[in-house]
């Protein structure tokens, strides 16, 4: 009887192929395919209904989609810059501490230890217009006597969301920048002091260039994080009220699972992923440039 014999290398690679196929390739191909169909979760047979690039064209012309897209970019820009500045400040201060620094470093990590869902609930409570801590505090201090609609007004809700994001993730920047501070050679810093630099100039011309690679690594990590922001926003405002805080993924999530229009959701998802890719490529370019200028690898 004839038995098919596969070459050994193929046999050895087979488990890896099978796993990759199951968890990456098939879902990827399937979702990409479904973005060209009128697939609805509630009517499985629609997955065969090929409609070409209709979903993509629809997304391109959808004002809600672009509003969410723009808001995500805005959130990314504001949150990342705030986190970078606060993280840098924190790291610089913690680096000066001589006693109890280990404890401080651990405490700095605390916000990252909570589930974003819980952080969302906590900030939803803090910013609640009736029973929230913030309004209570403001009223008790006599700063205002009205209930500020933190999570209702579009701009205020955006500020509230930024606050929650910054609170959870500033430590990513702080920890990475602190690591950078520890890695800076002391000689150039001393040379700068002798060369006539004030402390600010030493920071500006010597310390900061050394920190830039660390800052860009943090930026790259966090840009991916924020570009897929969902949990905190979903809990705090669910993109509302009336889409005023809608982000890409709250919109996509609702379209796919609530409205059951999975084909359209997938199409928007693929466009959204471009955003992540663009930011990642951008920050990695910056990282490479910063490293090259420091003579760290080519």
């Amino acid at each position: 009887m004839y038995r098919m014999r596969l070459p050994p290398w193929l046999v050895l690679l087979m488990p890896a192929f099978v796993i990759l196929l199951a968890v990456v390739a098939i879902p990827l191909v399937l979702s990409l395919y479904s973005s060209f169909t009128a697939f609805q979760l509630t009517r499985p047979e629609t997955i065969t209904k090929w409609i070409g690039t209709f979903n993509y064209q629809k997304a391109m012309g959808d004002a809600n989609f672009w509003a969410a897209f723009g808001r995500t970019v805005l959130l990314l820009t504001v949150a990342l810059n705030l986190e970078m500045l606060l993280g840098l400040g924190l790291a610089l201060m913690v680096a000066k501490v001589t006693r109890g620094q280990r404890l401080l470093r651990t405490m700095m990590m605390f916000p990252m230890m909570f589930s974003p869902i819980l952080v969302g609930f906590q900030f939803k409570f803090i910013f609640n217009d009736n029973v929230g801590l913030l309004n209570n505090a403001l009223q008790s201090l006599g700063l205002t006597d009205v209930a500020i609609p933190w999570l209702v007004d579009g701009n205020l809700a955006f500020i509230a969301i930024v606050t929650a994001e910054v609170w959870t993730s500033t430590s990513v920047f702080a920890i990475l920048i602190l690591a950078g501070l520890f890695a800076i050679p002391q000689d150039p810093v001393e040379a700068a002091r002798v060369d006539g630099c004030t402390p600010w100039q030493t920071f500006r011309y010597v310390t900061l260039p050394f920190l830039m690679p660390f800052i860009y690594i943090a930026m790259a990590i966090r840009s991916l994080d924020v570009a897929r922001a969902y949990d905190i926003v979903q809990v705090m405002t669910a993109g509302g009220p009336a889409r005023r805080t809608e982000l890409l993924w709250t919109l996509i999530g609702r379209t796919g699972y609530v409205d059951a229009r999975m084909g359209y959701a997938n199409a928007m998802g693929y466009i959204a992923i471009l955003l992540s890719i663009v930011f990642t490529v951008y920050f990695f370019r910056k990282l490479t440039t910063a490293r090259t200028s420091l003579g760290m690898g080519d």
Binding site: E190, A191, R193, V194, D195, C197, G295
Partner: protein, 361 residues
């Protein structure tokens, strides 16, 4: 240019004193080398002059000013560091011009000063490179260039050559000396290498355990070391020290070998001493040692030879101590061969066995 004066300068790290009330006067234009074994406080002293370490006591004066409380940038000094300390993200040109840029000098001024410094140190073809693309010797030249563009009052060098290989070190040593001749600025130079100290210095300051042991010209400290430490630290190979006792107006080595008392030395009867003789002053007979009235002879078996080309170092054992002698016009010597050595007594030293102090009068 300025003179530098240290008065009772003290440095403590917490309760641990590392520099003990040292006094030092450096004339302007002078090349002074601080030398000593690691941990002797020489780098700390230099860093106090630079302002990179706080001064725990006493005063440091540069020119007319007491600079104790001035930050480094207000002391008008420049410093060359052991690890070059270049700014890796700046080109050679930017490294050289950085201090002038910080001082807000005009672009034309900066370019002129940079070109001048680059010319002096032959860095002109490297101006657009980054430090990462330079060799060790080139980096060290950039570090020196960065120091000279500012025309500071004082140059401080902190072991600048210790990261270079032996050949480059010799080369850079000459360059540093030439630089000093050219610019004439006061230089304070720290090293643990006594050869660097000897070859570069107008005056050597020998430090040990946070104290200054001796200050003098290179020949001074070589020929008239104040104690056994300086005698063995300065000069290569180190001075041979043989335990001996003064008996009946002569020296007796520990195994009883008699040696006449060298001239010009004062020793009490019965005093325990160390008899010091450099390899240059103990040579096998017939080896062209400058003739002197004060010669004595010993016999010693040769245990090891180190041929150096123009001369050969002979290791022997005298009275249980290893002794290094020199042989000019080398000829092959078998190990174990017993040779008769002449000792030039007028070039020899005596040190008190307990305090190590020289017994020269």
């Amino acid at each position: 240019m300025a003179d530098v004066v240290l008065r009772n300068v003290v440095k403590n790290y917490g309760a641990v004193p590392v520099v003990h009330a040292i006094n030092l006067d450096i004339a302007h234009g002078e090349f002074v080398v601080l030398v000593g074994p690691s941990g002797c406080g020489k780098s700390t002293t230099l860093r106090m002059i630079a302002g990179l370490e706080a001064i725990s006591g006493g005063t440091v004066q540069i020119g007319e000013r007491v600079v104790n409380d001035l930050p480094p940038r207000d002391r008008n000094i420049s410093m060359v560091f052991q690890n070059y300390a270049l700014y890796p993200h700046m080109s050679v040109r930017e490294n050289l011009g950085f201090s002038l840029h910080i001082a807000k000098r005009s672009r034309a001024d900066i370019e002129k000063a940079v070109a001048e410094a680059a010319e002096i140190l032959s860095l002109t073809p490297l101006l657009d490179r980054k430090p990462g693309q330079l060799s060790g010797g080139q980096r060290q030249r950039v570090a020196m260039g960065r120091a000279i563009v500012r025309h500071p009052d004082v140059f401080l060098f902190d072991e600048p050559l210790s990261n270079l290989d032996a050949k480059l070190r010799t080369q850079m040593r000459v360059e540093i000396k030439r630089l000093h001749q050219k610019v004439g600025t006061t230089i304070i130079y720290v090293t643990h290498d006594q050869i660097e100290a000897m070859t570069l210095a107008d005056r050597i300051v020998i430090m040990r355990d946070g104290h200054i042991v001796q200050i003098g010209t290179p020949l001074d400290v070589f020929e008239r070391p104040v104690n056994a430490f300086v005698a063995t630290f300065i000069g290569s190979p180190p001075m041979n020290l043989l335990p001996a006792t003064v008996t009946g107006g002569a020296l007796r080595l520990s195994d009883g070998t008699p040696i006449p008392l060298p001239p010009g030395l004062s020793a009490r009867e019965g005093q325990a001493v160390h008899f010091g003789v450099r390899a240059d002053n103990i040579m096998p007979e017939g080896h062209a040692m400058p003739p002197t009235a004060h010669m004595t002879h010993v016999e010693m078996p040769v245990t090891l030879t180190e041929p150096l080309g123009t001369e050969t170092l002979l290791f022997g054992t005298l009275s249980g101590t290893e002794v290094q002698a020199k042989m000019l016009n080398p000829r092959p010597v078998r190990t174990g061969e017993v040779l008769r050595f002449g000792i030039a007594l007028d070039k020899c030293h005596l040190f008190d066995a307990e305090t190590g102090a020289s017994l020269r009068v």
